[in-house]
Amino acid sequence: MFTELNVILGFDHLKPPKGQFVLISDSLTDGSFLIHHFLSLYIKGGWKVCLLALAQSFGHYNTVGQKLGVHLTQAREKGQLRFVDGLNHSLQAYTSTAEDGQDKNPLTCLRDKKATLRPLYDLVKTHVCGEEGVLEGPTLLLVDDLSVLLSLGMSVKDVSDFVHYCRVLMCPSQQSQGAMVTLVHKDADVEDEEYSSLFRHMAYHSTVHLAVEGLSSGYSRDVHGQVTVTFRNVLDPSQPQTRKRRLQYKVEERNVSFFAPGTSRAVL
């Protein structure tokens, strides 16, 4: 967890805010460091977290988590962290033949054109909800990353339906118990229609949008990119609709430093 980012976002690191739909998008660089930020933030805040990991293995999150001061293996044993191993499910769906055990796999849709992401939603729901089908206490759903589903052949409609269902479950209003964080890729230099339309759907729903971009001037060793934070005001129409803040960042081994554009230590 990066304390500087918490200050910028106005998130209390002891009591992470409820009812947020946080969207992380990255362009020409990698935004996954923010996934680790939110993961450690909410685990430290004592929330129940469901991590839908489509991009990396548990070992990866665990090792990085240790660097940021959270022990994910323990959290998983305690039941605080629920881990959905998307990589493994994808491998199962890829290698298993049509007969054996297809109905159990939440990613059946990768083999079967007619199937949807419904089984995956059901799986997520059993992880985040109690027996009555409602959230018990503050719960976070973290999806890393949604674009993988598109790459694996799902349609934009299926994926945004899935997110819509999850959003209604987790954070229908700003007073609700849950929160949701997702990552999508949207590269500015290539035109990927599916990626950008998914991005637009997500940006519309988000309450906080963190857009990570590579520097327009090219690669730099000392400044890794910039983050534009957009707060979307959905509640109070008298206030301005959006509030923006732009910062540059540098990823270090255990931390990320944020600074105003042009004030990198290497420049000054």
Partner: protein, 400 residues
């Protein structure tokens, strides 16, 4: 308990330095500079250097092929040759050339490499010290510049040097256990068109054989393996994956998702096994840039080769020392927050008679043009003042 044991050993303190998690000791590997990662060499030490030490075990490295594919094929050969030198088992697949043919043409190692390294180890380190102490007085800004190529024999176990003009002997080649996957043998042509599901059967077959090798060779880390067997790393080379011979259809904007799904599943296999994978894909054959980008996101490290052959850059004097450019698109982030950050992103490669090397791109010194400036021509510089000395029409008082 520990204290009493300590006293038992004759007053030795019971304090023990907390040992760091022991990394696996496997020949031909080394831990990364950030720790907790195991690296294997690509076989080209200068390439290892710029990608942060080598290919991380458990990840996929993608090489986007140059337009004729020759340099990418060379990299694949280096990767395999390095595997043989370090006794790593190999898995090589291809649909174009028979993998046997690829293996029969591996570069030979520089023969006295190993012996020399052991002998010269001390000398080299001594020399290095001397070099370090001698500070630069004139071009002091270059002091911080690291030498791009590590000295010959600096690592006797990691990253060997090869001679491209010779081929590796067949006895040496047979020492490493290899599994070859030739698509036409594994999956007859008439079956390749039969798609029972929405996934390309050729890729499924390939992934199954990878899984078989991982299981049989005990590279799987998710199940406990017998302890007495010495551990090695499996090297997987997939040559020209996604070429039309694999049944990849390029129908304008819509690609089928077989290849991305294959890469995603491959990542799942590799993350839990002791294996490193090098893939070459002819991405220049894909019309859709977005598809290429999706493939890149599903691999861990990505480099792209751009050869000058047949392009107008071949004639460009700025590039006359090189054969092509090398772009680092992304580097592996496995197990860390931050990927390795190279100093710059401008690299070029050249192919000499005996070796392939990657270097920082430098412009050649500008020698021809300097003659055109008058003051640089020593004869002209002498002549003009002497002529103007006796010239009555002197414009300035300073002229004489």
């Amino acid at each position: 308990m520990a204290a009493s044991m300590g006293r038992g050993r004759g007053g030795v303190t019971s304090f023990q330095k907390k040992a760091r998690a022991k990394t696996l000791q496997i020949p031909g590997t080394r831990p990364s500079s950030q720790g907790n990662q195991l690296l294997v060499s690509t076989g080209v030490p200068s390439l290892d250097h710029i990608i942060g030490g080598g290919v991380v075990v458990g990840t996929v490295m993608l090489v986007e092929e140059d337009s004729f594919g020759s340099y990418a094929r060379l990299l694949m050969k280096y990767f395999m040759a390095e595997g043989i030198m370090t006794h790593h088992p190999l898995l090589l697949s291809s649909a174009e050339l028979h993998p046997k043919q690829l293996l029969s043409d591996l570069p030979a190692p520089v023969s006295d490499d190993i012996g020399k390294a052991a002998l010269n180890q001390e000398e080299v380190s001594l020399e290095k010290n001397v070099q370090k102490e001698a500070t630069m007085k004139i071009a002091w800004r270059y002091q911080k510049l690291r030498t791009e190529q590590p000295e010959l024999g600096a690592f006797s176990q990691f990253g060997h040097y090869y001679d491209l003009s010779k081929t590796m002997s067949s006895e040496m080649r047979d020492t490493a256990p290899t599994r070859l996957f030739y698509l036409q043998d594994e999956l007859p042509l008439e079956k390749q068109g039969v798609w029972t599901s929405i996934t390309n059967p050729a890729y499924i077959k390939l992934l199954q054989s990878i899984q078989d090798v991982v299981k049989e060779g005990q590279f799987d880390l998710s199940v406990p393996q017998p302890k007495d067997v010495p551990r090695t790393v499996l090297r997987i080379g997939l040559h020209s994956l996604g070429s039309p011979l694999w049944g990849e259809q390029d129908s304008g904007s819509s690609h089928d998702s077989s290849l991305p799904h294959f890469l995603h599943a491959l990542r799942a296999v590799l993350r839990t096994s002791l294996a490193a994978c090098l893939i070459t894909i002819p991405t220049h054959l894909f019309e859709d840039m977005a598809f290429t980008r999706r493939l890149e996101k599903l691999c861990d490290s990505v480099i792209r080769l751009e050869s000058f052959a047949g392009s107008e850059k071949e004639q460009n004097p700025a590039y006359k020392d090189y054969h092509g450019l090398l772009y680092i698109k992304q580097l592996s982030q496995a197990n860390s927050l931050l990927s390795y950050m190279p100093d710059c992103n401008d690299f070029a490669f050249k192919l000499r008679r005996k070796k392939f090397a990657v270097e920082k791109l430098h412009l050649p010194p500008e020698l021809q043009d300097s003659q055109q400036r008058e003051q640089d021509d020593p004869v002209a510089a002498l002549k003009t003042p002497s002529a103007s000395c006796f010239n009555p029409s002197v414009k300035s008082k300073l002229d004489f």
